[in-house]
């Protein structure tokens, strides 16, 4: 659907994109995720035609886009500021793109009403732009782009201006909307939770390149590097020594955990030399409260800090031979105790819950 081939972009002396190659499939919800300054918005603007790449090629639906201005591309954009035309009302905003085409009045009205109902704004067509709330502005921006029936919808941090409650609601709605219209959505966001919830596939960007491109599940459980792992959710890192490499796995000596054999599938990235890092998500470690609780492997640690979140409790637990305490999250089920600082704790873990990086 969209083919990016070695796309470079330079602003003066600064190289913002350093050779992006990727394919975005038809009808998928695709996210560009990364910290600010990683080049994700630049890439989106290159696809939309607001800037031209310094080198490399972009094609949409098999058509090369070099030299094609934004107004001739089969893409439409929802801007971060929403860019609602302040001197037009809702109907005029939504119908703006169609009005410049030769479309009958009745047809235009019908399509404006249709896209307004698609985003849940029925009956608000005559509202002035400045009378709209933040959420409504966002919906108008969506309707205005979707009415053009683009092949690709580009969304530049569309939820960043909304408060937390509304944002969570819109995450679900956007996902449903994308399923309903069936066109490719490309979302730029710095919020990993947003990307995980909505996307079919996520490209994690750093320093002008794609660090990892995979499904949300894969990204979360099998990050290819420490950087990706640290950016998506929380992860505990432990130093490790490579003891042996077999065709189907790798044997490591991990701080606190001891000797571990890990299958190849848990080594998603490249390995280099004898030093390695082992990552474990907080929910992959368990505190064993009762004698009857058992686990594949066990460690004894000491609780140094407790943070209570209501549904969850996060423990900082010092493990033998590791300076930085490990974070362990436990669901607060009925009758389960909450430990306090200084308590001894039994920590359970399994070899299938860890991931190995360079």
């Amino acid at each position: 659907m969209i083919e990016l081939r070695d796309v470079h972009k330079q602003f003066g002396p600064v190289e913002v994109l350093t050779g992006i190659t990727a394919d975005i499939r038809e009808g998928e919800f695709f996210s560009l995720l990364g910290p600010s300054g990683c080049g994700k918005t630049t890439l989106l603007r290159l696809i939309g035609g607001f800037d031209e790449p310094t080198s490399g090629s972009i094609s949409v639906d098999g058509r090369p886009m070099a030299g094609v201005p934004a107004n001739r591309r089969p893409t439409n954009m929802v801007f971060q500021s929403y860019a609602i035309f302040p001197h037009f009302n809702v109907n005029e905003n939504v119908g703006y793109g169609l009005r410049s085409q030769r479309i009958e009045r009745a047809e235009l009205d019908r399509r404006v009403a249709e896209s307004l109902s698609m985003v849940g704004l029925e009956g608000l067509g005559t509202r002035a732009a400045h009378e709209l709330s933040g959420g409504q502005r966002q919906r108008v921006a969506l309707a205005r782009a979707l009415i053009m029936r683009p092949k690709v919808l580009l969304l530049d941090e569309p939820l960043s201006a909304l408060d937390k409650k509304l944002r969570q609601q819109m995450e679900v709605e956007l996902r449903h909307l994308q399923r309903a219209v069936g066109i490719t959505f490309i979302l730029v966001t710095h919020d990993q939770e947003e990307a995980l919830i909505m996307s079919d596939r996520i490209a994690v960007m750093a320093d002008g390149n794609i660090e990892q491109l995979s499904s949300p599940q894969e990204l979360y459980s099998r990050p290819v590097s420490r950087r990706v792992a640290a950016f998506i959710g929380v992860m505990n890192f432990f130093d490790a020594q490579v003891l042996a490499e077999q065709s189907n796995g790798i044997t490591l000596d991990v701080a606190a955990f001891g000797k571990v054999e890990v299958p190849r599938t848990q080594v998603p990235g490249k390995m280099n030399g004898s030093r390695a890092t082992v990552g474990v998500r907080p929910e992959m470690l368990t505190l064993l409260f009762d004698e009857s609780d058992v686990s594949e492997r066990e460690l004894i640690g000491e609780v140094v800090d407790v943070v209570y979140y209501g549904d969850m409790t996060y423990y900082e637990v010092r493990l033998p031979g590791v300076e930085k305490p490990a974070t362990i999250s436990m669901r607060n089920t009925a009758g389960r105790r909450v430990l306090s600082s200084g308590d001894k704790a039994r920590v359970g873990w399994g070899t299938d819950s860890i991931v190995v990086f360079e």
Binding site: G48, G49, F50, P69, A70, N71, R72, T75, N76, M77, F79, Q80, S81, A83, F85, P86, H87, Y96, G97, S100, Q101, A128, A129, H130, E131, R144, A145, M148
Partner: protein, 275 residues
């Protein structure tokens, strides 16, 4: 501020200052209608003869025509130049930007007599005759910085993604300029036209140096100030000018508020529009 307590002396000072500001201006209508050729108190009686006198002064009429021609031409040219410069400075980066903008804004801090003298020297050297056009050249020079100051604030508040959104929706660059950019910066453009018009209409030194045989209004007034007998007429003329500029100002302010309300901008923070 949490404590809204205003010291009495400060309020009194504010009122006193307004009196100081308005005292000279308020004298204009008072003496314009005073039935005496000498300008002092106590007042003698009511008359409209000074206004009637203006009606038959041919030199005044030609000065008004000259001034209108100069001011209209000046405000048009300087606003066009101002639009280019304000757009360039708020939207684009280019080499030597600070230096270029600095040179353009210099007339703001240059005594007008220097501008007048330098243009006069060049015109003399080139052997050109002085005319209303030489006045216009000078006026445009001093009006452009004001135009840029007004327009830059209009352009700066302008969200660049509005234009991109229009392009994105399939509308070409030219159509986008007329349908999105122009309507949204129109209040700034009107402010710029009004301000530069007023500056040019009022400007004396450059006109004094560079006008040939055709006097502008300030040059005409200057010539009248020497004759005591003409002073009541000058007062009447001043009253008319004051009324016109007040009407223009109120119109401009009303227009700015109306367009600000339409675009949903914050009124209080919009002081960059007019002043």
């Amino acid at each position: 501020m949490s404590d809204a307590h205003t010291p009495k002396w400060l309020s009194a000072y504010a009122i006193g200052y307004l009196v100081f500001l308005y005292a000279p201006v308020l004298l204009l209508p008072i003496f314009a209608f005073n039935d005496s050729a000498i300008i002092n108190f106590p007042l003698k009686g009511f008359t409209t003869q000074w206004f009637e006198g203006l009606w038959t002064t041919e030199a005044l009429h030609s000065a008004v025509r000259n001034s209108l021609f100069v001011a209209l031409t000046t405000c048009t040219i300087s606003t066009v130049l101002g639009v280019c410069a304000a757009r360039a400075s708020t939207r684009y980066h280019f080499p030597a930007k600070r230096g270029i903008m600095g040179l353009i804004m210099v007339p703001l801090v240059l005594p007008e007599i220097i501008v007048a003298v330098s243009l006069l020297v060049v015109l003399i050297q080139l052997g050109l005759d002085l005319s209303l056009w030489s006045v216009i050249l000078g006026h445009v020079l001093i009006c452009v910085p004001f135009s840029i100051a007004v327009l830059a604030s209009a352009f700066k508040n302008f969200d660049r993604s509005l234009e991109e959104a229009s392009l994105d929706l399939g509308v070409g660059r030219v159509a986008t300029f007329f349908r999105i950019t122009l309507p949204l910066v129109a209040p700034g453009i009107i402010s710029s036209l009004l301000i530069t018009f007023t500056i040019s209409l009022d400007e004396f030194i450059i006109a004094f140096f560079l006008t040939g045989t055709d006097a502008t209004l300030p040059v005409y007034i200057w010539s009248q100030l020497r004759f005591t007998a003409r002073l009541p007429g000058v007062m009447a003329l001043g009253t008319i000018l004051l009324t016109i500029s007040l009407l223009l100002l109120i119109l401009a302010e009303w227009f700015r508020r109306w367009s600000a309300r339409r675009s949903g901008a914050d009124l209080e923070s919009g002081t960059g529009g007019l002043y």
